[in-house]
Structure formats: structure tokens, C-alpha cells
Amino acid sequence: MAGFDKVVTSYDDALSGLKDNMTVMVGGFGLCGIPEGLIKKMYEMNVQNITCISNNAGVDGFGLGILLERNQIKTMIGSYVGENALFEKQFLNGDMKVILTPQGTLAEKIRAGGAGIPGFYTATGYGTPIADGKEVKEFNGRKYILEESYTSDFSLIRAWKADRYGNLIYRKTAANFNPMMATAGKITVAEVEEIVEPGQLDPNFIHTPGIFVQRVILGNFEKRIEQRTVKK
């Protein structure tokens, strides 16, 4: 690599430096927009005691679900989990700690983390079990709770198009948590469907500027569908 060229050609290089006990953000909503190859590589590396921040936890045998097969996740932080039998088992056994976080609060914790903001007040969750132990503050007669933001050692994200400098464009609803996670990683690795030369993406339409991205790898995606629903 030279200058701003972020492209790596092997998954070894893509996840070089990923170790046990790290905090890893993984993009996607359900199975939509997940970095499939990077998750598989995490599985092969068998890194352990991972704190994983992702909206969901995959399904049995696909997406983050595969990391459960070797008990790699110590703590799972997400908004909706348990679509997989293995997850349910490890959760109920106490093998894995689960921190359920409202989806919008999760998105904002990551956005704020990437933006250098350590916490924020939100009305979401006030008076509910998730507010337990959190500071409450009143603004204009309404009560808000203090939520602390998240950053990660590695953010593994998926984008549609990248240029060599790491400028990214997402496709449809495959964007979801990926753009915020890109900003919140000490090392952000983007697995993408297409890599072009600098100058070939219109600067007007870049979603994630390359400054947030350390590595880019060309992926090969299955794009499995969780709930294929068609018009009758």
C-alpha cells in the first residue's frame, strides 16, 4: 500500500491485528448489508472473548451466527437478537452476555462515538428497564436518560462501491448501520462489491469519505435473504 491506497487483497491482511478480547462492530440489519467474508474470516481466526456490537446476531450457520459455533462472542450488544437457536442456548446458559439497546439509541451511540461525542441524552427508554442505573436529566419539562457512546477496535462493514482511497457508496437498505460503524472503528475494514480507481466515483454521491476507512477488500457475497416475501 502506498499513499491513500487502502485496498488489501487477502482476508489475512484485511483482519490483521484482530485479537482476542477486542470490541468489534459488524454492520448489517438482519442479513442485509453484512460483511459476509469478514465474518467468515473472524470465524477462521477463532478470535475469542469478542464484544460484538451489531443490530442483530445473524441466523444459525450464517452471518454472525457462525461465531456462536465456537463461543467466540462474550458480549453481544444489539437491538433484536435470538433468531437463531444457538444464540438462544448460549444466552440462556449464560455463556454470552447480551445488552439489549433500542435501535435508535444503538445507532446514535455509534454515530456519537465516531464523532468524538462521549454521551448524549435521549427520551428513548426513560422509565423502562433499560434506564436502570442511568442518569436522568430534565430538559423543557421532559425527562431524558444519559447514554454513553461506543467506539470499536475493528469495524467490519459492507459497502457497494469503493474507490482505492476508501470512499464508499452503499446500496439501498444495505447501508443501515454501516456508515456510522465506519466512523467509529479504530480500524475500519470495508468489504465491497466493486472497487474502482480514484476519480471514478462522483464526489457528490460519496456516503462515507475515505478518511474513515483503513482497509478495503473486494468481497464475494451470497446475500442470503431472511424473509423472502413476494406479491401474491
Partner: protein, 218 residues
């Protein structure tokens, strides 16, 4: 006889106004999209990143990169927009969505709602529900009035809450209720359902006017 799920959706659809941005939750709320009055323009927001969600795709149009918040494959309408999850919840939390429809296990006379956690059952998570109830200016809850004779319209929610004092309107299989000043107001009853039946299946404080009209279900 109370309303079917489709009829509850039909009644809720009457809450729509031309030009509304609407978020529909999973279950009965999703069905509301089928009853948007003709000639009215409504944009559906899906919290995973769509403004202007369309119908389910034909086989040829199925796209794994285009799903709704229930993870089902969908399409978009003309003039739609995609965005990330932070922007999506800026719309929701920031009060930009005109109408939110969601399901619930229980609501109470203070407008609190329980919809995500049943003790003893595996808790899968709240998804976007807590953000939706905290942020929406206008929420309609679609739910069963009772379960096996046990009221779900309560003095105080028994299950862990999704949000506090945030619900103002509830449509059940039996009634349309407005919540204000610490009480349920019976606005309409389902066709053929008596006020007495609604009273007997409502645990929370219920205010009943001398005349309670029937809902208009077509």
C-alpha cells in the same frame, strides 16, 4: 363479535391524512398499508432505511439489499429515499414522522405501553419500538382488548414498559379509545359489541359518554 386483524387495520387506516409520513410496526400495523384511502398520498417509513416503502416484489424484482424492518423483501415507490440508521432514527426520535402504528401487550390509563418483554420468555429485544414511542407525535396502538377474558387495557401496565405516558390512541378488536388525563375515553365500539362488554373487559378507568357510536368498517 370483535374486529378481525384486518378490520382493526381498516379502522386505523382512517387515522391517515394526505401527506402523512407513517411508520407501521410488525403484525396488524403492517396490514394498515392495505387500507390507505384511495386518492390519499402517504409515505411509509421503514426504520431500517426507507422513506417510500412499496409493496412486496414480484419474483423478478426480489432484491436482497432491499428489505423492510421485518426483514421481508419489499419494493419502493416513486420518489422514495434510502438512508442510514442514524438518519432514520433522527426522523423518528426527532418527531418528524406524522403517525406511528404499533402493537402492544398492554397499555394503561397513563398512556404507558408494554410491548417487548414477557418475563419467563426469551427476550429478543425491543428493536426500534422504544425510539418510536419516545419520538412519535402521534401513535396509534393496535392490540387485543383482552386475552382469555383478562383485560389488556389496564390501570397500570404489569409487564416491563416500552415507554411512559406516550400513547394517546388505541384501537382494539372491541373499541377505539383515547387516553387523556389518566383515563381511557371510549370513542367508538366495534359493530355489534355492547358498551357493557367493553366495560367488563376494561380494567383501567374508562369514561363512557351517553352515546358511543359504532366504528365504520366497510
Amino acid at each position: 363479535m370483535g374486529l378481525s386483524r384486518e378490520q382493526i387495520a381498516q379502522r386505523i387506516a382512517q387515522e391517515m391524512k394526505d401527506g402523512y409520513y407513517v411508520n407501521l410496526g410488525i403484525g396488524i400495523p403492517t396490514l394498515v398499508a392495505n387500507y390507505i384511502p384511495a386518492g390519499m398520498q402517504v409515505m411509509l417509513q421503514s426504520e431500517n432505511g426507507i422513506l417510500g416503502m412499496g409493496e412486496f416484489p414480484t419474483d423478478e424484482l426480489v432484491d436482497p439489499d432491499l428489505i423492510n424492518a421485518g426483514k421481508q423483501t419489499v419494493t419502493v415507490v416513486k420518489g422514495a429515499a434510502f438512508f442510514n440508521s442514524a438518519d432514520s432514527f433522527a426522523m423518528i426520535r426527532g418527531g418528524h414522522v406524522d403517525l406511528t402504528v404499533l402493537g402492544a401487550f398492554e397499555v394503561d390509563q397513563d398512556g404507558s405501553i408494554a410491548s417487548w418483554m414477557v418475563p419467563g420468555k426469551l427476550v429478543k429485544g425491543m428493536g426500534g419500538a422504544m425510539d418510536l414511542v419516545a419520538g412519535a407525535r402521534n401513535i396509534v396502538v393496535a392490540m387485543a382488548h383482552s386475552n382469555k377474558g383478562e383485560s389488556k387495557i389496564l390501570t397500570k401496565c404489569k409487564l416491563p414498559l416500552t415507554g411512559v405516558s406516550c400513547i394517546k390512541k388505541v384501537v382494539t378488536d372491541l373499541a377505539v379509545l383515547e387516553i387523556k388525563d389518566g383515563a381511557f375515553y371510549l370513542l367508538e365500539r366495534a359493530p355489534g359489541v355492547s358498551v357493557e362488554e367493553i366495560v367488563s373487559l376494561t380494567e383501567g378507568k374508562l369514561i363512557v359518554a351517553s352515546h358511543v357510536p359504532e366504528m365504520k368498517i366497510f
